[in-house]
C-alpha cells in the first residue's frame, strides 16, 4: 500500500479535502488564501528536504540554495516584460537546477555527516553572497518579477496566476503531486536502495551498489523540487530576495521537517503547518512571540520523540490497540 501508516492515511484524507474546500470556507478572503498558499509552497520545499534528510540521511544546511535559485533562475532567464509559459519555465528551472545540483552534488556527496552539512552550507553561502553582492539582481534589496507567466497547455489555460485562488489550487495540486511522487518513489525499488543506503551505506557497497549514484539521483530530485518551490514562491508575490537563500531559511525548513517527523514525508506538511500556524497565532497575541515559540519548540522536542507524525502514529496505534 502506498500510504502504509494509518495515521498517514487519516491525515491525507482529512487534509486534502479540507484544503480543497478552504477557499470557499474562507469566502475567498485573499489574505488567508495567500497565507495558505505560502504554507503549501513551503511544505513542498520542506518535503523535498525531508526526503533528503530523513529518507536519504543526507543532512544539508544548504537546501535554501535551490529554493532561492528557483526564484533567481526565473529572473535570469525569463524576459522581463513578457508573459512566458508557466509549464515551460517549470521545466527550464527544474532542468537547470538539476544540472546545478548534479555538479554540486558531485562534490558535496563525497563527504558525509557534519562535513556534508558544512560543505552544503558553504555552497549555499557562496550563492547567497553572489546574489547579495550582485548589482544586476538588486543586491540585498532583491528584484521584482513584473509579469507572471500564463499557464496554457495546448491552448487550454487552467490557472490564472494573478488570481490568488487559482494560484492556491496550483500550489495545492503541486503539493499533492509532490507527496504522491515521494510516496511512489519510496515504495519503489529505488526507494529500497535509498533506505538501505541510509541505514547502512557500507554494507550496500559490499552488496555491489554504487551508492554515490543513488545519492546523487536523490540529491538532484530533491534539489529540483526545492527549486520548483522557490519558483512558486517567487511567482506568488513576484519578489525575489537573497534572504531566500540564507542559511536561516535552510535552518527553518530543517526545523519544520524535524518537527513534522523526519522521513515521514507527510510530516513535512504537518511540521510546516504547525510551525507557521504557531508563529501566526503567537505573533498576533504577543510581541514576545519569540519566547513562546522557543518554549513551544523545546516542549515539542521533549514530547514528540519522533516528531508530530510519529506522535500521531502512536496515537492512532494505541487507539487501535484498545
Amino acid at each position: 500500500m502506498l500510504l502504509n501508516k494509518r495515521a498517514e492515511r487519516l491525515f491525507v484524507w482529512v487534509f486534502f479535502p479540507l484544503a480543497l474546500l478552504m477557499p470557499m470556507l474562507l469566502e475567498q478572503n485573499e489574505y488567508y488564501v495567500n497565507k495558505l498558499t505560502t504554507i503549501m509552497i513551503l511544505s513542498i520545499f520542506v518535503m523535498s528536504l525531508d526526503y533528503l534528510v530523513g529518507k536519504c540521511g543526507l543532512i544539508t544546511l544548504g537546501h535554501a540554495m535551490f529554493y532561492g535559485l528557483g526564484g533567481y533562475l526565473f529572473v535570469m532567464i525569463a524576459p522581463e516584460y513578457e508573459a512566458v509559459n508557466f509549464w515551460v519555465y517549470t521545466f527550464y528551472i527544474c532542468a537547470i537546477s538539476s544540472l546545478v545540483a548534479f555538479v554540486i552534488g558531485f562534490l558535496v556527496l563525497r563527504t558525509s555527516g557534519i562535513y556534508m552539512i558544512m560543505i552544503t552550507l558553504a555552497f549555499a553561502q557562496m550563492t547567497f553572497y553572489y546574489f547579495s553582492d550582485s548589482i544586476d539582481f538588486g543586491g540585498t534589496d532583491g528584484v521584482f518579477v513584473y509579469v507572471k507567466p500564463e499557464t496554457s497547455i495546448f491552448g487550454l489555460s487552467l490557472f490564472d496566476l494573478d488570481n490568488p485562488t487559482h494560484f492556491y489550487y496550483l500550489c495545492l495540486l503541486s503539493l499533492f503531486n509532490s507527496l504522491l511522487f515521494f510516496k511512489v518513489l519510496i515504495r519503489s525499488r529505488f526507494g529500497r536502495l535509498v533506505d538501505a543506503i541510509h541505514v547502512n551505506p557500507g554494507r550496500t557497497v559490499a552488496l555491489g551498489y554504487n551508492i554515490f549514484v543513488y545519492r546523487l539521483v536523490s540529491y538532484v530530485i530533491a534539489s529540483a523540487l526545492g527549486a520548483y518551490a522557490g519558483y512558486l514562491f517567487t511567482l506568488q508575490y513576484g519578489f525575489v530576495n537573497p534572504s531566500m537563500l540564507s542559511w536561516t531559511t535552510s535552518g527553518t525548513a530543517l526545523v519544520m521537517s524535524i518537527l513534522g517527523g523526519m522521513g515521514s514525508i507527510y510530516g513535512a506538511i504537518l511540521g510546516t503547518l504547525v510551525f507557521e500556524g504557531l508563529q501566526y497565532l503567537l505573533e498576533h497575541v504577543t510581541e514576545h512571540w519569540l519566547l513562546f515559540m522557543g518554549g513551544l519548540i523545546i516542549t515539542m522536542v521533549m514530547v514528540f520523540k519522533k516528531g508530530i507524525a510519529g506522535f500521531l502514529e502512536d496515537l492512532v496505534e494505541k487507539r487501535d490497540g484498545k
Binding site: 563525497r110 563527504t111 560543505i119 552550507l121 553582492d133 524535524i258 514576545h288 519569540l290 519566547l291 519548540i297
Partner: protein, 287 residues
Amino acid sequence: MDSTLFFVQLINGLQYGLLLFLIASGLTLVFGVMGILNLAHGSMFMVGAYLAWYFVQQTGSFAASAAISAVIALLIGFVVERTLIRRLYKRNHLDQVLLTIGMIFVFNAMQGLLWGNDPLGVDVPEALSASIPLTGIIEYPVYRIFVALFCVVVAVGMYYVINKTRLGMLIRAGESDREMVECLGIDINRLYTIVFAIGVMLSAVAGVVAAPISSIVPGMGEHILITCFVVVVIGGMGSIKGAFIGALMVGLVDTFASVLVPELSSMMIYIFMAFILLIKPQGLFSS
C-alpha cells in the same frame, strides 16, 4: 602590498584567528569532543557579552564582571544539560538541532526583554587600554594582544586536558559509547553535565573577553555561529589542535581575502572550507 603592511595584516589575521578559536572553543568542546550539536552556542556567546556589559555597569570592574558572568554561564549550562540536553542523548542528532534552535529563540527573546535592542559597548579595562605603536601611524591595542595570549592559554589548556588527562579520555570515550563508559564505573551523566556546563562557560567567557572589542547587539551570536562551525569542521571533529589551526587559517584567509580579493571576500572562508573538505573530507586533523 608592501612588506610592512603585509606584516601588519599577518598580525591582524593571527589575532583574528586566535579570537575565533576562543569563540569556537566552547563549540569545540561541546560539539567536537562531546558530540552534542549545540546551535545555541552563539547565543551563549551573546549572553556572555551582555552579562559582561551588565555587570560592568553594576560593579564597575571588568574582572569582577568576567568572574560573575562565568559563574552564571556555568549555572545556565548546568541547568540546560540537566533539564533538556540530557533527555536527548539517546535520540537522533537532529532532535538536538530542534532543541537548540528553540533555545536560540528563547535566549534572543530574553535578551530583548532584559537588555533591549540598542547596541551596547564595554570599555576596555583600564589596565589594558594602552596601545603600542606598530608601523606608520598604526597602533596596536594592548587589549587585543592580551586577548590573543588568553586564547593561546585556553588552547593549550584544552589540548592538555582533552588529550593528556584521564578526564579528557573519559569525555572522548563518552562521545564514542556512553554505555561502555558507565561500565567502567563512571557516572557519565554527571561527567557530561559538568563538561557541558564548562563548554557553555567557555562560550560565554569568549563573549565576555570579546565584549570590549565588539559591539554588543542582538543576534551577534548567530553571525558568529556559522564561523565557529567552519573552524571546528575545517580542523576536524574532536581535534583541539585542528580547531586551533583551523581558526588561525580562517583568520588569515579572511584577513588577506579582504585585502587581496575584496570582491570575493564575503565568500572566501566558504570557498576555503569547501576546498579543504574536498581534499580532506574529514577535516584536517580528524581522528
